[in-house]
């Protein structure tokens, strides 16, 4: 892909990423990074840097919509996120010192199990007690 076709494809994929981000409260890097490396052919580092710049405005716009609709508490979320940011910087430093492969497989297993549990709860209609 090149030129206008590429940018149209990127914008169309961006819409899907934004919907997933706003609905699921995720950044979207999980979707954007593989797309940029596999479909567009960027290097891993370049794809991750580019995806960070897409995630920020997407999360801001989604959060403003939710604030207007009275869902959640943006003040708490932002403070919570500052703590998360400190954790993620520590994690990134730790990642440089640890072998990543095994850890990723273990974590993938964990995410899969949590996904099954949530999908099953949703399917059966059981929700944990709201706070």
């Amino acid at each position: 892909m090149s030129g206008p076709t590429l940018y149209l494809a990127l914008a169309a994929f961006g819409v899907a990423v934004g919907v997933a981000s706003g609905l699921l409260g995720v950044g979207g890097g999980t979707l954007v990074v593989p797309f940029l490396t596999l479909a567009v052919g960027l290097s891993q580092h370049s794809a991750e840097a580019t995806s960070l710049l897409v995630i920020l405005p997407t999360a801001i716009v989604g959060s403003l919509v939710l604030r207007r609709r009275g869902v959640g508490d943006l003040g708490v979320a932002l403070r919570f996120g500052v703590v998360g940011a400190i954790g993620s910087v520590l994690g990134a430093l730790l990642a440089l010192a640890l072998p990543g492969g095994t850890l990723r497989i273990v974590f993938a297993g964990f995410v899969g199990i949590v996904g099954l549990r949530l999908a099953w709860d949703g399917f059966r209609g059981e929700a944990p007690e709201p706070r």
Partner: protein, 119 residues
Amino acid sequence: MRLDPKLLAIGLGGGLLSGLLGVGGGIVIVPLLVLWAGYAQREAHATSLGAIIPISIAGIATYGIAGEVRWWDALALAAGSIMGARIGAGWLARIDERLLKLVFGLFLIGVAALMGVRG
């Protein structure tokens, strides 16, 4: 800065895992808020999305993106994703909690498969 101790722990732990493994914060944060902190599903997703704002700012500040960003690619993606975020967040505000749980569960299973494949 006052914050519930559980939120403090989830923020630190979730951030640590996401930085360590290079996965998005939301994948870690949402399940912890729901399964451990007892958040309602909808509130957990909204809280996660808000938390991503400072987390991604820290990422941009520390990642050394200067020479690596493909600006036009980012612009095209962001143009689409900003429109998409308005649609998605609008859905989150009114979607049935059971359906939300099911969709998110399936999303996590997909992410796990992708991570497994890429190792």
